[in-house]
């Protein structure tokens, strides 16, 4: 009976669900691109304010790509990428029972990986991290970026290749 209402982004429950499902990913997405937490936060706000303003025009199925597009376009040509500072997940370190030498070596590898990530082109880094950290499928990333799945696979491939070359010191 109420399908008409719940099918509308203007419905607060629907809107709130869309926010919960996507806001963290948008935040990370913009952060991977530019390495700026504030900009990432603002992009989330901007994207969802715009979604609310246009809630009558955007169907729930299109809402996801709508918010990604708004967030992405917000900084088009505006900011230069800064260094992306990623952290190790702390829990995984606590639960390991490796030798101190191994942990030290592991930390060393992590630093190398970070430096290599910083040097990646913005689109390769974003794609790689969305997949590795956020567990996004290639198809999802393709939808966010507005490109084909094949293009995402290409980026993934090139990202891995450059990372390895950097780390192995080639």
């Amino acid at each position: 009976m109420d399908t008409e209402k719940t099918d509308n982004v203007c419905n607060e429950q629907v809107y709130s669900d869309i926010f919960k499902a996507n806001s963290k990913t948008i935040y990370n997405y913009i952060y991977y691109k530019f390495g700026n937490e504030e900009k990432a936060y603002d992009a989330v706000q901007e994207a969802f304010v715009k979604l609310w303003e246009n809630c009558g025009k955007v169907s729930p199925t299109r809402a996801k790509s709508f918010v990604y597009t708004v967030a992405k376009n917000l900084y088009l040509n505006v900011i230069k990428a800064e260094k992306v500072r990623l952290k190790y997940a702390e829990k995984s370190l606590k639960t390991t029972h490796e030798t101190p030498e191994f942990l030290l070596e592991e930390e060393e590898f992590g630093k190398k990986l970070q430096r290599a990530l910083d040097d990646l082109p913005e689109n390769q880094r974003t794609t790689f991290l969305l997949n590795r950290i956020d567990g996004k499928k290639y198809a999802e990333i393709a939808e966010m970026e507005g490109v084909s799945i094949k293009a995402i696979e290409k980026r993934m491939h090139l990202a891995l290749k450059s990372l390895r070359e950097k780390i192995d010191g080639i």
Binding site: S23, Y31, Y41, V49, I133, L160
Partner: protein, 300 residues
């Protein structure tokens, strides 16, 4: 190996043969470590609930959203507010006094609510309460005006220097800075100024110039001269004559070696500038020089 095999490998899409070959390669170990280590990375902490709160607060600050399901309700709200503002403005404007003014070199004739007529000379202003006019025929004058008052209740003209009241008559009031002249052309006029009261009957004139009171009872005309496009003076200091000239022709008047306190009796045209300049300068034995919008009166 197929295209983009590294991406396929991460996604578990390599064939068994391909995977075997890849594992044998010298790079495999690093690739595996990259894949594992990168999964342990984390983006900065993001407080989703806080972000949602901030978003809600922002929406409250932004323009109120028109609720689509009840568009008419919000329209009514807007209409009600607009109506209230309009009603308020209407009553406010009602209480405001009517004000009519003339610029330099401009005359106007105004019919008051009781059919009394006011002719406004240049650079003058009257203010009156239109709604209350029938009960209280009061108006404020700044400048010079000729009044033809319809019969009725007391009619009062307030000026900075005194007030003029009549019951029904024709009279002229001129109030310019320290100049206050009342000419009565018909009926009886009462002038109140400086705590004094004077009554003028037909043909009488009262002038208060720089504090000096002068009364005369030989008005030559039935109407003030300015209504016939002339400015007429009787023993008025030259400075007021110059002022009036400037007012009628929209010109800046300056003087040099002229005693502006010297009294002037005479008339000048409000339409022929050259003639007017001569009318002023010849009897006063002074000269004048025209320069654009300025005129200089000078003595030798």
């Amino acid at each position: 190996m197929q295209e983009n095999y590294l991406a396929k490998w991460l996604n578990g899409e390599l064939t068994e043969a391909e995977l075997l070959e890849f594992k044998k390669s010298s790079e495999y170990e690093t690739y595996l470590r990259i894949a594992e280590t990168s999964q342990q990375l984390e983006a900065p902490i993001y407080d989703e609930e806080k972000a949602f709160e901030a978003l809600k607060n922002r929406q409250l600050l932004e323009e109120p959203k028109v609720v689509k399901l009840q568009p008419f309700k919000s329209f009514l709200r807007v209409a009600a507010v607009a109506a209230l503002i309009m009603i308020g403005a209407f009553f406010y404007l009602q209480t405001l006094d009517e004000s009519i003014s003339t610029g330099v070199a401009e005359n106007k004739e105004i019919k008051l609510p009781d059919n009394s007529v006011v002719s406004l000379n240049a650079d003058s202003q009257i203010t009156y309460d239109e709604g209350n006019w029938q009960e209280e025929r009061d108006l404020k004058l700044n400048g010079e005006a000729f009044f033809k008052v319809a019969k009725g209740e007391r009619f009062t003209v307030h000026t900075e220097q005194g007030k003029v009241s009549v019951l029904g008559t024709q009279f002229n009031v001129k109030q310019r800075s320290k100049l206050f002249i009342v000419d009565c052309f018909e009926g009886l006029v009462q002038v109140d100024f400086d705590g004094k009261t004077k009554k003028l009957s037909k043909g009488m004139s009262l002038s208060l110039i720089d504090g000096q009171l002068l009364e005369s009872d030989n008005l030559e005309h039935l109407k003030p001269a300015w209504l016939a496009k002339e400015s007429s003076f009787k023993s008025v200091p030259l400075k007021y004559v110059f002022e009036e000239f400037g007012r009628q022709y929209n010109m800046e008047v300056t003087t040099k070696n002229v005693d502006t306190q010297k009294l002037f009796t005479g008339t000048f045209s409000n339409t022929h500038k050259e003639l007017a300049l001569k009318s002023i300068s010849v009897p006063s034995q002074i000269k004048f020089k025209l320069e654009g919008g300025k005129v200089l009166f000078y003595g030798e």
